[in-house]
């Protein structure tokens, strides 16, 4: 299955075209919702961290530090991926599944196309290369949302927060985050694509396959999250 997907594309100009189209459909169209969620969750993270650091002796800048770490390590790469598994995953399954049940995939095959390669590889490449940018946007907006929330609620001052954001930065945490993101991006492209590609029946089955694809994509992400974390951060 994956062997077919990773064959050399039949025509490179068309392949490039498809990648740009997929970046638009799968990536750019997701930025809005990602930005929106990240901004507000960033705010919530700051408020909750501040309330948990009640001890007056704990320096306030730790709020910025803790928020940054939780956004980089967990919230942006994992939670945003789960959200994208729902949004992008269901889109991929239903679009490929519809092509299957309306014989469009058969039509491609009859023309001599490698349909798996033509339909799935551009999605994988678009996802794996574009999602890291989406997640960086998410991290940045989360941190910004935290700053806004900190000031609005008066829980942390701008200077303290910024100091926290800049203290003790371990660049490997960002690398870890990007590795996770790329792996999840791969999962978000492939698991739903296969659920769509092998659908049998009609519109109802396409709907069911979409639901199943979202569930499985989320499960795979959560499980991989555990193992990747153990591998990359565990001592």
């Amino acid at each position: 299955m994956l062997k077919e997907v990773f064959k050399r594309p039949q025509k490179s100009s068309i392949f490039r075209e498809s990648i740009f189209k997929e970046i638009e459909d799968l990536g750019i169209n997701s930025i809005g919702i990602v930005a929106f969620i990240s901004f507000f969750v960033g705010g919530v993270v700051v408020i909750q961290t501040a309330l948990n650091l009640e001890n007056p002796l704990t320096p306030k800048y730790l709020i910025g530090y803790a928020s940054r770490e939780s956004l980089i390590l967990e919230f942006s790469p994992t939670l945003i991926s789960i959200i994208l598994a729902g949004k992008v995953g269901s889109y991929i399954t239903s679009s490929i599944g519809t092509m299957r049940v309306t014989e469009q995939i058969d039509a491609l095959e009859v023309m001599g196309m490698n349909s798996l390669n033509y339909l799935v590889l551009p999605k994988i490449i678009a996802n794996v290369f574009f999602y890291p940018f989406v997640i960086i946007i998410s991290i940045s907006l989360g941190i910004f949302g935290g700053w806004v929330a900190g000031i609005l609620t008066g829980l942390v001052s701008s200077a303290d927060y910024i100091m926290g954001i800049r203290s003790d930065f371990d660049s490997f945490h960002l690398v870890y985050s990007m590795i996770k993101t790329s792996v999840f991006a791969f999962v978000i492209a492939t698991v739903p694509a296969f659920h769509g590609y092998y659908v049998n029946g009609g519109a109802i089955e396409v709907g069911k396959a979409s639901t199943r694809a979202v569930v499985w994509t989320s499960i795979v992400i959560i499980v991989l999250n555990y193992f990747l974390t153990q591998m990359l951060l565990g001592k």
């Binding site: 025509k11 309306t102 039509a107 023309m111």
Partner: protein, 256 residues
């Protein structure tokens, strides 16, 4: 030439094709007829390699399909044009993009040449001014015609049409039948049409194969259709009132 030997196909233990033998010649339009559910679509899909028969050989100009390498199969498919029963147009592409797709994929023609060819085939199926429309904006018959245009745009050596004129009015239907026949003659290609349309049977019918209960129940030409006393065929043909009347008139004529 396409040769089919002892083709057997079942779904979950239920046989649909029980050993079909047939030959389809170059430059001829052959017709596969049969009632709904008789296995016409399954038959075509087996020929195309979209379904895998349990038994039997299919050979294209002497080359057995099952013995070809994946690359050879893909090369063969570039010579095949197929019109699916449900048209199977790419619904995120316009009419023009649909028809141009194979050209774009498998030739290095510049855009001007491609668009010229696209307009030419769209013209041949009597479809103008629809270039920029999406399949969802077309009527069923128009979608069929786009599918036919897409199937012939590469000048295929083999042309398969699964009920090309279902959903078409009798006039357009005749135009399409004639068109397919002309192309078949002109380029000496091997054409197989699935149909249960009696007009097409009369119109085309250089070779007609009747499928019934998974076997070939009759084979002949359109001229022979009216003369045969094969029960399966007459049952199929004269289930149409129009043809029953034609038949009665003819018998009356003959007895005079």
């Amino acid at each position: 030439m396409i040769e089919v030997k002892d083709l057997y196909k079942e779904f979950d233990g239920t046989p649909v094709l029980k050993g079909i033998n047939a030959t389809f010649e170059n430059g001829k339009t052959s017709l596969v007829i049969g009632t709904s559910g008789s296995g016409k679509t399954v038959f075509l899909k087996c020929l195309l390699g979209l379904l895998h028969p349990e038994r039997g050989d299919i050979s294209y100009d002497g080359n057995i399909y099952n013995q070809m390498s994946p690359d050879e199969k893909r090369d063969l498919k570039k010579d095949i044009g197929m019109v699916f029963q449900g048209s199977a147009l790419f619904d995120s592409s316009t009419v023009e993009e649909n028809v141009m797709f194979p050209l774009k994929m498998f030739t290095n023609q510049p855009y001007e040449e491609r668009i010229e060819r696209v307009n030419f085939v769209l013209n041949r199926v009597n479809l103008e001014n629809a270039n920029k429309k999406y399949p969802a904006e077309l009527s069923g018959g128009m979608q069929k015609r786009v599918a036919i245009a897409r199937a012939i745009v590469m000048n295929p050596k083999y042309l398969f049409c699964d009920e090309p004129n279902s959903g078409l009015d009798p006039k357009t239907s005749t135009v399409i039948d004639t068109l397919i026949q002309e192309i078949t003659k002109e380029y000496n290609i091997t054409t197989i049409i699935n149909s249960h349309d009696m007009n097409s049977v009369m119109e085309i019918g250089e070779k007609i194969i009747l499928l019934k209960n998974g076997v070939k129940a009759w084979e002949g030409t359109s001229d022979e259709v009216f003369r045969t006393d094969n029960k399966d065929l007459t049952n199929f043909v004269y289930s149409s009132n129009l043809f029953k009347k034609v038949r009665e008139a003819q018998l009356k004529e003959d007895s005079k």
